[in-house]
């Protein structure tokens, strides 16, 4: 059982490095959603159900949603500025 936990921790380390090295921002949102689900598995292993419940809802749903909303707001503004320049 302890080796399962050790394997999960190594997986978390590798995934964290992968999230940092993803340069495309939209792809990084998917990566951090996967990282959040993996962290909640680690919290289950550490016998912390409250924290795992928090991490599932926040790290896999709310955090990527906020980041995607921010990215789409910036893209929407860029598209609209360009359309206005083209029409002007």
């Amino acid at each position: 059982m302890i080796w399962v936990g050790a394997g999960l921790l190594i997986l978390v380390a590798v995934t964290g490095f992968g999230v940092v090295r993803t340069r495309d921002v939209t792809g990084q949102v998917i990566a951090i959603s996967f990282y959040g689900v993996l962290m909640s598995l680690v919290f289950f292993f550490f016998q912390a159900p409250d924290v795992a419940l928090s991490q599932i809802t926040v790290g896999a749903v709310a955090l990527p949603l906020m980041i995607m909303l921010a990215i789409s707001r910036m893209k929407y503004r860029t598209v609209r500025m360009r359309k206005r320049e083209r029409d002007a």
Partner: protein
């Protein structure tokens, strides 16, 4: 507990901390640096939970086990619970600042933002 695993969560926490810091230092997109800040913050979760873990301990919920059973440390879990939710809202605040910076200057690269003034 095998001797090789004695320091594993602390080392993983330090590794995640430095990955996040490396991403922050070498980032070319402000949203990428905010996400690396989230990785930085999650390294503290691993460190704290690693300190509070006890082999053979169960979760500190006494709804169906007898009071007095050996559990893991509940205090670090209490500290971490609020932290996870607050992290998401602080990331939202940082992203609002990024959106405003993009609106005022048209760019999201931190290097270019330094040279545009006034």
């Amino acid at each position: 507990m095998p001797h090789v695993l004695h320091l594993l969560p602390y080392l993983v926490a330090a590794w995640l901390f430095f990955c996040g810091l490396y991403g922050l230092v070498s980032s070319r997109h402000l949203v990428h640096s905010v996400i690396c800040l989230a990785i930085l913050q999650s390294s503290t979760y691993i460190l704290l939970l690693g300190i509070g873990y006890r082999v053979g301990g169960v979760a500190p919920i006494f709804a169906d086990i007898a009071p007095g059973t050996v559990t893991v440390d509940p205090v670090v879990q209490a500290l971490m619970l609020t932290d996870v939710v607050v992290e998401a809202v602080v990331v939202a605040l940082l992203l609002a600042m990024v959106v405003k910076a993009h609106e005022k200057s048209g760019t999201v690269s931190p290097d270019e933002l330094r040279t545009l003034r006034g």
